[in-house]
Amino acid sequence: MDFDKRTVIAIILVTIIILLTPLYQKLIFKNSQNYQVINNASIDTLKQAKSNASSDLSIKSNQDSISNEKSEVVDTKKVVDSVSSSTEEVVSQDTTFEISYDTLENEYYLLVFSSKGGVLRKAYLKEYKSYIQSDTFSIVQLIPEDYNGFLNNKLYYGKRVLDLSKYNFNFYKSGNKLYAEARVLFDSDTVVVKKVFSIGDKKYTLNYEYNILSKEIIDNNIVELDGGINVTERNIKDDLGYFKAYARMGDDVIEEDLAKKEEINTIEKTGASHWIALKSKYFLGSIICDKNSDGIILKGKKIKEKDSKFDKKYYNAALKFKNKYSLSNKLLVYLGPIDYLHLKSFGIGLEKTVNLGGMLIKPFSIMTTYMLIFFSKFIANYGLVIILFSLVIKLLTFPFTHKSYESTKKMSELQPQLEALKEKYKNNPQQLNKATMDLYKKAGVNPLGGCLPLLFQMPIFFGLYRVFASTIMLRNESFLWINNLADKDPTLILPIIMAVMSLVQSLMTIKDPKQKMTAYIMPIFLFFIFKGLAAGLVLYWTCFNVFTIVQQELVNKFYKGKAVSNSK
């Protein structure tokens, strides 16, 4: 009776899910149409960008032709504000100048600097394909166009602010260093700013030195990353979900999601900070100092767009330095992928920007990361790495599960006797339990493997989920028909295979005819859960199912042979 009730509930649930699916898909499709709109819009701007800076991307030797090649004319706004205006930006230079560009390049990145502000305008990562910019421009560019770029300096004189992003800098290159220099007339003071950029020793790093000479006392000076990290993934909404600002203060790493509201959300802290960082799903921009900073400022806001289903996000992170008459400062800048091991190699806690889950899951995701990296040294394709990984996990749990199958088998041989006991103690469940246990003891069977090994699979699975969601490893990795293991499989082939495999498995484990319904329900349920998850994760689970089935078959065969030999 009880079971009928359960079946009804189950059927109702499944029907609801099936009925809701078209609605859900409609929502998804609407979103993807929006992606298209954005793509088209950005393609135009990118075509321009391409002619501006990228034509020489692939040809490394031809660097200098990019610089000063294309330029646009910008009027610096003539804002003549009196000293009394509080925190308004004061620009006392009244010129029209041409923006020129210069670059720094190595095998990993191409950095484009703009003479307007002497800032980093574009950071192309050569090893990573961009999904957003598709055909016209197919590698990742980290810095948003609409803002001040990265590595702008702002100087605070009491309440007056000198925002250097509005001034023209002159570039000159010497060796592998790029110099940018500006003389800014600020009130009655001439401020001389020298910036020196050079490619860092470590992968994806840039050395940034600056020197500012001013007659007046500069109270504060900040270096900022403005705008946030660009969206780079096909699934824009998913990518935006990972946008965050970080800062290291002392031994703590502050992690803030500041773009929840439409008004600017600011976090300002004083004290020595080691680094600040902004991140997207896979990429990180960070300014690292020698713990000589005096504070941090993190800002963020949500930007609503009319024709878009999702909100854009604006972020700004800055390191603050207190100073006196003149100052020079040496900083390290990281612009690159969120690669756990690489970030860890800096030894300053940058790897904490990788979200590997809470206390419980973290050890498992770190273990998973190391295992995947280890396997990938021998196997080029990450699909195969995942298959191997699932085999290893299966083998690790095998001693446990094997034992459990043994006892399952023995148990089923005791089944008739159990039925008899059930009949005997129909009205006395307490007595029945004792009798059952006695029977087990007599037969020398310790029933089954236990609940712990079963539960042990869960943290591994969640760990893997975390790894897929937050490290660069599996981005863009293809396997058979799947073009991105870190994204869901749009063809649904893999989830269907997974569902079929789990159906086979559940039909094997569920022998009780009363529970046959559940055997069919679970695979359907799993299908709906897994079809939205990363393809690599589905691949792992599918293989795990297959290995379980194989293992079960082997155990069955083994016992059949034994039973025959016993009967003889």
Binding site: R6, I9, A10, P399, F400, K403, S404, T408, M411, N433, K434, T436, M437, N446, P447, L448, G449, G450, C451, L452, P453, L454, L455, S502, S506, T509, I510, D512, Q515, T518, A519, I521, M522, F525
Partner: protein
């Protein structure tokens, strides 16, 4: 408040019993099973005690344990 949380937890365990448990097969070494034990604990004990006892039970339910009858 406690009783509400208890009820929710029991509901979740029941859902597990209906949908997930049959899929994994009978794995438990104890009588009553871990899930039934947990339900009993949450019905009769204080929340935190039931919680700790349930977790302790699951930890004990491994291939190296003897299993057997265990309710309290």
């Amino acid at each position: 408040m406690q009783s509400v949380i208890k009820k929710i937890i029991i509901k979740i365990i029941r859902l597990y019993q209906i949908f997930l448990s049959p899929y994994f097969g009978n794995q438990c070494r104890f009588t009553p099973t871990c899930s039934n034990y947990a339900i009993y604990q949450f019905e009769h004990k204080k929340l935190h005690i039931a919680f700790v006892k349930s977790i302790w039970r699951i930890l004990r339910c491994n291939p190296f344990s003897k299993g057997g009858y265990d309710l309290d």
